[in-house]
Protein backbone atom coordinates (compact mmCIF):
# COMPACT_ATOMS: atom_id res chain seq x y z
CA UNK A 1 0.00 0.00 0.00
CA UNK A 2 1.34 3.43 -0.91
CA UNK A 3 0.38 6.46 1.17
CA UNK A 4 0.70 9.99 -0.20
CA UNK A 5 0.96 12.80 2.36
CA UNK A 6 -1.59 15.29 1.02
CA UNK A 7 -0.80 18.77 2.44
CA UNK A 8 -4.55 19.36 2.88
CA UNK A 9 -5.97 15.98 3.93
CA UNK A 10 -3.05 14.19 5.54
CA UNK A 11 -1.77 10.75 4.57
CA UNK A 12 -4.14 9.04 2.14
CA UNK A 13 -4.13 5.83 0.14
CA UNK A 14 -2.70 6.31 -3.37
CA UNK A 15 -5.98 5.00 -4.81
CA UNK A 16 -7.58 8.33 -3.89
CA UNK A 17 -5.24 10.11 -6.32
CA UNK A 18 -4.77 10.22 -10.07
CA UNK A 19 -1.23 10.08 -11.35
CA UNK A 20 -0.50 12.78 -13.90
CA UNK A 21 3.09 11.89 -14.74
CA UNK A 22 6.34 13.71 -14.19
CA UNK A 23 5.89 17.33 -13.22
CA UNK A 24 7.29 19.71 -15.78
CA UNK A 25 6.67 22.85 -17.69
CA UNK A 26 4.20 22.58 -20.56
CA UNK A 27 5.76 23.86 -23.80
CA UNK A 28 4.22 26.88 -25.46
CA UNK A 29 1.92 25.47 -28.21
CA UNK A 30 2.46 28.62 -30.29
CA UNK A 31 6.22 28.17 -30.64
CA UNK A 32 6.91 24.45 -30.15
CA UNK A 33 7.52 22.11 -33.10
CA UNK A 34 5.37 18.99 -33.66
CA UNK A 35 8.35 16.81 -32.69
CA UNK A 36 8.88 18.73 -29.42
CA UNK A 37 5.17 18.45 -28.69
CA UNK A 38 5.21 14.70 -29.39
CA UNK A 39 8.16 14.21 -27.08
CA UNK A 40 6.43 16.23 -24.37
CA UNK A 41 3.28 14.08 -24.65
CA UNK A 42 4.69 10.60 -25.19
CA UNK A 43 8.39 10.35 -24.34
CA UNK A 44 9.14 10.26 -20.64
CA UNK A 45 12.29 9.68 -18.63
CA UNK A 46 10.92 6.90 -16.38
CA UNK A 47 13.83 7.15 -13.90
CA UNK A 48 14.70 4.53 -11.30
CA UNK A 49 14.93 6.73 -8.22
CA UNK A 50 13.71 10.19 -7.26
CA UNK A 51 11.23 11.91 -9.54
CA UNK A 52 9.07 15.01 -9.19
CA UNK A 53 5.51 14.06 -10.12
CA UNK A 54 2.09 15.59 -10.48
CA UNK A 55 -0.83 13.92 -8.67
CA UNK A 56 -4.48 14.95 -8.46
CA UNK A 57 -6.37 14.21 -5.24
CA UNK A 58 -9.62 13.31 -6.97
CA UNK A 59 -11.26 11.63 -3.97
CA UNK A 60 -10.19 14.27 -1.47
CA UNK A 61 -9.37 17.96 -1.66
CA UNK A 62 -9.42 17.96 -5.49
CA UNK A 63 -6.12 19.82 -5.67
CA UNK A 64 -3.08 19.12 -7.87
CA UNK A 65 -0.02 18.15 -5.86
CA UNK A 66 3.67 18.18 -6.72
CA UNK A 67 5.16 15.07 -5.14
CA UNK A 68 8.80 14.01 -4.88
CA UNK A 69 8.68 10.20 -4.97
CA UNK A 70 11.26 7.49 -5.26
CA UNK A 71 9.99 5.24 -8.04
CA UNK A 72 11.99 2.30 -6.69
CA UNK A 73 11.00 2.40 -3.00
CA UNK A 74 7.83 4.55 -3.22
CA UNK A 75 9.28 6.72 -0.47
CA UNK A 76 7.82 10.24 -0.62
CA UNK A 77 10.15 13.12 0.23
CA UNK A 78 7.68 15.99 -0.13
CA UNK A 79 4.17 16.80 -1.33
CA UNK A 80 3.05 20.34 -2.01
CA UNK A 81 -0.04 21.99 -3.45
CA UNK A 82 1.03 22.80 -7.02
CA UNK A 83 -0.77 26.15 -7.09
CA UNK A 84 0.79 27.12 -3.77
CA UNK A 85 4.26 25.84 -4.63
CA UNK A 86 5.87 29.17 -3.85
CA UNK A 87 4.37 29.15 -0.37
CA UNK A 88 4.69 25.63 1.06
CA UNK A 89 2.87 26.54 4.30
CA UNK A 90 -0.10 28.17 2.57
CA UNK A 91 -2.28 25.08 3.01
CA UNK A 92 -1.63 25.15 6.77
CA UNK A 93 -2.28 28.91 6.92
CA UNK A 94 -5.56 28.58 5.03
CA UNK A 95 -7.08 26.19 7.54
Amino acid sequence: MMLLPCPWCGPRHAGEFRFHGAAGTRPDPATTTPEQWRRYLYVHDNPRGWQTESWYHSAGCRRFLTVERNTLTHEVRSARDTQLDAAPNAAEDAR
Partner: protein
Protein backbone atom coordinates in the same frame (compact mmCIF):
# COMPACT_ATOMS: atom_id res chain seq x y z
CA UNK B 1 -59.22 23.33 -15.18
CA UNK B 2 -57.53 20.39 -13.49
CA UNK B 3 -56.41 20.48 -9.90
CA UNK B 4 -52.80 21.54 -9.45
CA UNK B 5 -50.57 18.66 -8.35
CA UNK B 6 -47.83 19.22 -5.82
CA UNK B 7 -44.48 17.88 -7.08
CA UNK B 8 -43.10 15.06 -4.99
CA UNK B 9 -39.33 14.71 -4.60
CA UNK B 10 -37.81 11.27 -4.33
CA UNK B 11 -34.50 10.26 -2.86
CA UNK B 12 -32.19 8.12 -5.04
CA UNK B 13 -32.31 5.54 -2.27
CA UNK B 14 -35.11 2.99 -2.62
CA UNK B 15 -37.28 2.72 0.47
CA UNK B 16 -40.32 0.72 1.39
CA UNK B 17 -42.69 1.58 3.05
CA UNK B 18 -42.70 5.33 2.41
CA UNK B 19 -44.21 8.44 3.93
CA UNK B 20 -44.19 12.04 2.64
CA UNK B 21 -42.28 14.60 4.74
CA UNK B 22 -41.95 18.19 3.57
CA UNK B 23 -42.63 17.23 -0.04
CA UNK B 24 -40.17 14.33 0.00
CA UNK B 25 -41.00 10.66 -0.12
CA UNK B 26 -38.97 9.13 2.70
CA UNK B 27 -38.66 5.81 4.47
CA UNK B 28 -41.44 5.20 6.99
CA UNK B 29 -39.54 2.58 8.98
CA UNK B 30 -38.73 3.25 12.62
CA UNK B 31 -35.91 1.31 14.17
CA UNK B 32 -34.82 1.33 17.80
CA UNK B 33 -31.63 -0.61 17.05
CA UNK B 34 -28.41 0.86 18.49
CA UNK B 35 -26.92 1.12 14.99
CA UNK B 36 -29.04 2.71 12.28
CA UNK B 37 -28.76 4.05 8.76
CA UNK B 38 -31.17 6.78 7.72
CA UNK B 39 -31.71 8.52 4.39
CA UNK B 40 -31.27 12.26 4.98
CA UNK B 41 -31.45 13.28 1.32
CA UNK B 42 -34.42 15.65 1.91
CA UNK B 43 -32.16 18.00 3.90
CA UNK B 44 -31.39 21.19 1.98
CA UNK B 45 -27.85 21.13 0.58
CA UNK B 46 -26.22 24.32 -0.60
CA UNK B 47 -22.66 24.48 -1.90
CA UNK B 48 -20.43 27.54 -1.55
CA UNK B 49 -17.23 27.94 -3.55
CA UNK B 50 -14.85 30.78 -2.80
CA UNK B 51 -11.10 31.38 -2.49
CA UNK B 52 -9.82 29.48 0.52
CA UNK B 53 -8.27 31.33 3.38
CA UNK B 54 -9.84 34.62 2.37
CA UNK B 55 -12.67 36.87 3.46
CA UNK B 56 -15.30 34.25 2.58
CA UNK B 57 -13.90 31.83 5.12
CA UNK B 58 -13.98 34.53 7.78
CA UNK B 59 -17.55 35.46 6.83
CA UNK B 60 -18.68 31.83 7.04
CA UNK B 61 -16.71 31.16 10.22
CA UNK B 62 -15.79 27.60 9.27
CA UNK B 63 -12.40 26.44 8.07
CA UNK B 64 -11.54 23.41 5.96
CA UNK B 65 -12.10 20.13 7.77
CA UNK B 66 -14.43 21.48 10.46
CA UNK B 67 -18.17 21.99 10.93
CA UNK B 68 -20.28 24.53 12.80
CA UNK B 69 -23.95 25.17 13.42
CA UNK B 70 -24.80 28.63 12.18
CA UNK B 71 -28.03 30.58 12.42
CA UNK B 72 -29.05 32.01 9.03
CA UNK B 73 -32.08 34.12 9.94
CA UNK B 74 -35.23 32.94 8.17
CA UNK B 75 -33.40 29.85 6.88
CA UNK B 76 -33.00 28.66 10.45
CA UNK B 77 -30.03 26.80 11.82
CA UNK B 78 -27.75 25.09 9.32
CA UNK B 79 -24.81 22.75 9.64
CA UNK B 80 -21.96 24.44 7.80
CA UNK B 81 -19.29 22.00 6.64
CA UNK B 82 -15.80 22.95 5.44
CA UNK B 83 -15.73 20.09 2.96
CA UNK B 84 -12.67 21.00 0.86
CA UNK B 85 -10.26 23.91 0.38
CA UNK B 86 -12.47 26.76 -0.83
CA UNK B 87 -15.62 24.66 -0.62
CA UNK B 88 -18.35 24.70 1.99
CA UNK B 89 -21.58 22.72 2.25
CA UNK B 90 -24.59 24.06 4.16
CA UNK B 91 -27.14 21.51 5.35
CA UNK B 92 -30.54 22.73 6.53
CA UNK B 93 -34.10 21.63 7.13
CA UNK B 94 -36.04 20.27 4.12
CA UNK B 95 -37.48 22.98 1.90
CA UNK B 96 -35.14 25.75 3.08
CA UNK B 97 -32.59 25.59 0.23
CA UNK B 98 -33.73 28.84 -1.40
CA UNK B 99 -33.65 30.69 1.93
CA UNK B 100 -30.20 29.28 2.77
CA UNK B 101 -28.91 30.29 -0.66
CA UNK B 102 -30.24 33.81 -0.27
CA UNK B 103 -28.86 34.14 3.26
CA UNK B 104 -25.42 32.89 2.23
CA UNK B 105 -25.32 35.16 -0.82
CA UNK B 106 -26.19 38.11 1.41
CA UNK B 107 -23.56 37.15 3.98
CA UNK B 108 -20.84 36.74 1.32
CA UNK B 109 -21.76 39.78 -0.79
CA UNK B 110 -19.49 42.07 1.21
CA UNK B 111 -16.37 39.96 0.86
CA UNK B 112 -15.49 41.31 -2.58
CA UNK B 113 -14.39 37.83 -3.63
CA UNK B 114 -15.68 35.73 -6.51
CA UNK B 115 -18.13 33.44 -4.73
CA UNK B 116 -20.66 30.97 -6.12
CA UNK B 117 -23.60 29.59 -4.11
CA UNK B 118 -25.44 26.62 -5.59
CA UNK B 119 -28.44 24.56 -4.47
CA UNK B 120 -27.44 20.88 -4.74
CA UNK B 121 -30.40 19.43 -2.84
CA UNK B 122 -31.75 17.29 -5.67
CA UNK B 123 -28.34 16.38 -7.07
CA UNK B 124 -26.84 14.66 -4.06
CA UNK B 125 -27.57 11.82 -1.69
CA UNK B 126 -27.12 12.13 2.06
CA UNK B 127 -27.31 9.39 4.69
CA UNK B 128 -26.64 9.25 8.41
CA UNK B 129 -24.90 6.32 10.07
CA UNK B 130 -25.71 6.51 13.77
CA UNK B 131 -24.56 4.37 16.66
CA UNK B 132 -21.53 3.53 18.77
CA UNK B 133 -20.51 0.85 16.25
CA UNK B 134 -20.55 3.29 13.30
CA UNK B 135 -16.71 3.43 13.13
CA UNK B 136 -16.62 -0.37 12.88
CA UNK B 137 -18.94 -0.25 9.86
CA UNK B 138 -16.97 2.55 8.21
CA UNK B 139 -13.67 0.77 8.87
CA UNK B 140 -14.86 -1.91 6.45
CA UNK B 141 -15.39 0.50 3.57
CA UNK B 142 -12.97 3.40 4.06
CA UNK B 143 -9.35 3.85 5.06
CA UNK B 144 -9.66 6.82 7.41
CA UNK B 145 -8.54 6.58 11.04
CA UNK B 146 -11.80 7.25 12.90
CA UNK B 147 -10.24 7.34 16.38
CA UNK B 148 -11.44 10.18 18.60
CA UNK B 149 -8.08 11.96 18.68
CA UNK B 150 -7.75 11.88 14.86
CA UNK B 151 -11.32 12.65 13.77
CA UNK B 152 -13.19 14.17 16.74
CA UNK B 153 -16.80 15.35 16.67
CA UNK B 154 -17.14 18.20 14.17
CA UNK B 155 -14.60 16.79 11.71
CA UNK B 156 -15.32 16.96 7.97
CA UNK B 157 -13.31 15.24 5.29
CA UNK B 158 -13.67 13.90 1.79
CA UNK B 159 -12.50 10.41 1.05
CA UNK B 160 -13.29 7.22 -0.78
CA UNK B 161 -16.06 5.23 0.97
CA UNK B 162 -16.68 1.89 -0.77
CA UNK B 163 -14.89 3.47 -3.77
CA UNK B 164 -17.39 6.36 -3.87
CA UNK B 165 -16.08 9.90 -3.36
CA UNK B 166 -17.92 10.91 -0.19
CA UNK B 167 -17.97 13.81 2.20
CA UNK B 168 -17.71 12.22 5.64
CA UNK B 169 -18.91 14.48 8.45
CA UNK B 170 -18.78 13.44 12.08
CA UNK B 171 -21.87 14.94 13.68
CA UNK B 172 -22.43 13.20 17.02
CA UNK B 173 -25.96 13.11 18.33
CA UNK B 174 -26.30 13.28 22.11
CA UNK B 175 -22.81 11.94 22.65
CA UNK B 176 -23.40 8.97 20.33
CA UNK B 177 -21.21 8.56 17.25
CA UNK B 178 -22.99 9.75 14.16
CA UNK B 179 -21.67 10.30 10.63
CA UNK B 180 -23.25 12.09 7.70
CA UNK B 181 -22.19 10.70 4.33
CA UNK B 182 -22.76 12.94 1.33
CA UNK B 183 -22.17 11.81 -2.27
CA UNK B 184 -23.38 12.25 -5.83
CA UNK B 185 -27.04 11.30 -6.25
CA UNK B 186 -26.24 8.55 -8.75
CA UNK B 187 -23.98 6.80 -6.21
CA UNK B 188 -26.45 7.03 -3.30
CA UNK B 189 -28.13 3.65 -3.66
CA UNK B 190 -24.80 1.87 -4.14
CA UNK B 191 -23.32 3.60 -1.08
CA UNK B 192 -26.28 2.57 1.06
CA UNK B 193 -26.06 -1.03 -0.18
CA UNK B 194 -22.33 -1.10 0.60
CA UNK B 195 -22.93 0.32 4.10
CA UNK B 196 -25.72 -2.19 4.76
CA UNK B 197 -23.42 -5.03 3.70
CA UNK B 198 -20.59 -3.75 5.90
CA UNK B 199 -22.99 -3.11 8.79
CA UNK B 200 -24.94 -6.35 8.79
CA UNK B 201 -22.51 -8.17 11.16
CA UNK B 202 -22.92 -5.22 13.59
CA UNK B 203 -26.74 -5.34 13.44
CA UNK B 204 -27.23 -2.25 11.26
CA UNK B 205 -30.89 -1.44 10.62
CA UNK B 206 -32.50 1.09 8.29
CA UNK B 207 -34.66 3.75 9.90
CA UNK B 208 -36.69 6.70 8.69
CA UNK B 209 -35.70 10.30 8.10
CA UNK B 210 -34.23 11.87 11.27
CA UNK B 211 -33.48 15.42 10.14
CA UNK B 212 -30.69 17.68 11.28
CA UNK B 213 -29.55 17.22 14.86
CA UNK B 214 -30.26 20.48 16.72
CA UNK B 215 -27.28 22.16 18.38
CA UNK B 216 -28.84 21.67 21.83
CA UNK B 217 -28.77 17.85 21.41
Amino acid sequence: MSEETVPLARSPIATDPTVVVAGWEVCARVSTAPLTLSDETPLAKVLVRAPFGGAARDALGVSFGRTARVGLGTAGEVLLVGSAPGEWLALGAPGTAAAIRAALEERLAGTGEFVSVLDLTHGRALVRLHGAAAPVVLAGVCGIDLADHVTPDGTALRTSVAAVVTDLVRDDDGGVRSYLLHCERSSGQYLVDALRDAGSPSGLEVTGFRGLVPSSA
